[in-house]
């Protein structure tokens, strides 16, 4: 982890993983931009003024409460805590931080054994060379919303009892998936979706550093639009586009992000009868577009569409929500699109 934070390059094998795998690679693989440009100090974090300020106060005081970060993907939650840990512990980060995420075994047994054992260790307030450092360790539970309720419950007492020696930081997308006893023990920070201009500024900096020509920045605007404030996704999309096409273009971005073209969405919204619908759905699926993506874009289009009455908007949006839920449960795309299509036809005929 130190190497990764120092150089800003991912060296996957250096990570203190729970499985304890350590292999040495001489050659570093070309890093994804996302890892290469991960913020190195908390001041580098885009937006999130309040959170950064609080963190800065905590760092200067040398103490940290239990933390709970929540917010949409790609807003800098993991980056914030990694940077903070780096600033707190410097080169002893590896000994003081336990990072667990969804790819590690994280059932109740692990919480009971591993996390508890780690939490119970006492650490000194000085480094090996005698300089002072915070007298506690940090447990980072990334993607905590995928932990089971039982595992979360097992954390409760551990969190309280080991406050003297350990701080916990939970990171999740949906705070509602964390059980209340845990949330009440942490200070919560909400990470807002990033503001447009800041994202664009950051993307531009990175593109310049990589020597990629982005022209006037129209493509950057598009990248931000398609990614809804998710910096990681925007950056990955740009890199994929660069890799695949050798340059960054608007069409390329649509292709790599898997977006459904605008006119297809409009076509779906203006189907007239059942046979047309059947044909559309067949073609849509054969072109391998994603139904959930269509629903997402559809709901955005419906809300702002001028030619629909409020009643129509309500009916279509409600059905879209139902279908999207069914799709997530694994429903067949053909069925759900047909169902929603029927609702759209009925709504169109009955303004």
């Amino acid at each position: 982890m130190q190497a990764f934070l120092k150089t800003g390059k991912i060296s996957a094998t250096d990570k203190p993983s729970s499985s304890g795998i350590k292999t040495s690679t001489k050659k570093k693989p070309p890093a994804p931009w996302v890892e290469k440009y991960r913020p190195k100090t908390i001041d580098d974090i885009v937006d999130q003024g309040e959170v950064v300020q609080v963190l800065r106060e905590c760092l200067s005081g040398g103490d940290l409460p239990h933390l709970l970060f929540y917010g949409p993907p790609g807003t800098g939650k993991t980056s914030a805590i990694l940077a903070a840990a780096r600033q707190l512990f410097g080169d002893i980060t590896r000994d003081r931080v336990l990072e667990l995420n969804a790819s590690d075994e994280r059932g109740i047994q692990v919480v009971r054994d591993k996390v508890k054992a780690f939490a119970q260790l006492t650490v000194s307030a000085t480094r090996l060379d005698g300089r002072p450092c915070p007298p506690y360790k940090l447990v980072i539970l990334d993607e905590a919303d995928s932990m089971t309720t039982a595992a979360q419950a097992a954390l409760r007492r551990t969190m309280e009892r080991e406050t003297r020696t350990t701080r916990f930081c939970l990171i999740c997308n949906y705070v509602s998936r964390i059980i209340p006893p845990i949330t009440s023990r942490c200070s919560k920070f909400r990470f807002k979706p990033l503001a447009r201009e800041n994202v664009i500024k950051r993307l531009r900096e990175i593109c310049e550093a990589e020597g990629v020509d982005v022209g006037e920045g129209d493509v950057l605007h598009q990248a931000v639009d398609t990614c809804e404030g998710d910096l990681r996704r925007a950056l990955t999309a740009l890199q994929c586009c660069q890799r695949l096409l050798g340059k960054i273009t608007a069409d390329g971005l649509i292709e790599v992000t898997g977006l459904v073209p605008e006119n297809t969405v409009n076509e779906y919204l203006s189907v007239k009868n059942y046979s047309e619908l059947e044909k559309f759905v067949d073609k849509f699926l054969m072109d391998a577009y994603s139904a959930s993506q269509l629903l997402e874009q559809l709901s955005a289009t419906v809300v702002t569409a001028g030619h629909l009455t409020n009643k129509q908007k309500c009916v279509i949006s409600e059905k879209a929500a139902v279908c999207s839920h069914r799709l997530l449960d694994g429903g067949a795309e053909f069925m759900q699109l047909t169902d929603l299509g029927c609702t759209i036809i009925t709504a169109n005929n009955d303004p």
Partner: protein, 355 residues
């Protein structure tokens, strides 16, 4: 003697028959020093696997075609032993994690870690990474998909993943945003027809363009099915003629048959008969969602607009329930019963209006 589908599968990226721009882009991708994780998606018979094998050949040379089958054993946290079939060469390994049902997470975690920890012995003239191919990623459990997230980042130095899916609706966004996604649309009918001509030429037989077009149309834009149909045609009658009957898959005929049974009479007795037929379909391994789609397509043909909407919405509801539950027959039958009720009511009302 192998089937035409395998015999005439393109082995080189430049020899692919359609989506040529994409092939050129993939070739460029291989030539760059770094190679990202890939997520390849498209309907079946669009050529996903063909493209991937071509890509691997481009990466490693002809060594990837020497395949061997192995059975791997994993132990779940609850100490249950599970076995899974893998196909591998010296450079890549291919698995179908959904084979083990809900234990797919263990397979993914262990397999990727296993592969990632072994390095290529002679990395001088080679790529320094191996490739893991995971099939049917969209059917993985959510747990398994979450397990992939960090694994993908952690072992980027020694292994690359190629994920294959039919649709990315069910792939979680976190995975999508870590991969280079490659969409492979199904070939159009003309493209299929031209491939048929090409294959027939290689087999030195003559195919009338009418027949080629007809096969292409009835193959649902599935190239594999088109080639199989074409071969079946040849077996049935040779030389091929323009007005030859194109053999349809049996299950399609059977579903149509079932639909007409439902339409002919709506009564509990008929429902019993339909149940037999549904069982028959399921026993023969036709996936329940295809039965659903087939039934819906056939049943709505005789309905008016309002009823079509009603039927479609019921179908969507029951199909969703079928995914959540584990006995497809209940939900298929529920749909049939519901349709019968709706249809009967509609018929009675329209008859009532007539008098």
């Amino acid at each position: 003697m192998s089937l035409w589908v395998d015999k005439h599968r393109p082995r080189d990226l430049m020899k692919l028959d359609f989506h040529k721009d994409q092939a050129i882009r993939l070739k460029n991708l291989v030539q760059q020093s770094d190679f990202p994780h890939l997520l390849v998606y498209g309907p079946s018979g669009a050529g996903k696997k063909t493209r991937i094998m071509c890509l691997l050949r481009e990466l490693y040379g002809s060594g990837v075609e020497r395949l061997r089958q192995e059975t791997m054993t994993f132990t779940t946290p609850s100490n249950k032993k599970i076995e899974i079939m893998t196909v591998s060469s010296n450079y890549h390994i291919e698995v179908n994690p959904t084979d083990v049902g809900i234990h797919d997470r263990v397979v993914i975690m262990d397999l990727v870690k296993n592969v990632a920890q072994t390095h290529q012995i002679d990395s001088s003239g080679q790529r320094e990474f191996k490739v893991v191919i995971l099939n049917e990623v969209d059917d993985l459990t959510k747990d398994a998909q979450h397990a992939l997230r960090r694994t993908m980042e952690k072992y980027v130095a020694t292994c690359r993943l190629i994920l294959i899916a039919n649709s990315i609706s069910r792939v979680i966004p976190a995975i999508r945003s870590r991969c280079l996604t490659i969409r492979i649309p199904a070939p159009t009918e003309t493209e299929i027809a031209s491939v048929l001509h090409l294959v027939c030429k290689k087999e030195s037989i003559n195919i009338p363009s009418d027949l080629a077009m007809r096969i292409a149309r009835s193959a649902d834009r599935n190239l594999r099915r088109a080639l199989l149909m074409c071969e079946a045609c040849k077996v049935q009658q040779y030389p091929l003629t323009a007005d030859q009957k194109v053999p349809e898959p049996d299950w399609q005929i059977f579903i149509r048959d079932t639909a007409s049974t439902i339409l002919s009479e709506q009564s509990p007795k008929k429902l019993g008969e339909v149940r037999q037929k549904l069982y028959e379909l399921i026993i023969h391994g036709v996936p329940p969602d295809m039965i659903f789609a087939g039934l819906l397509k056939e049943l709505v043909k005789n309905c008016d607009m309002a009823m079509k909407c009603q039927v479609a919405s019921h179908a969507a509801r029951f199909e969703h329930r079928m995914r959540l539950g584990n006995k497809p027959i209940f939900h298929l039958e529920a749909f049939v019963a519901k349709f019968m009720a709706v249809y009967k009511k509609f018929m009675e009302e329209s008859l009532g209006d007539a008098f």
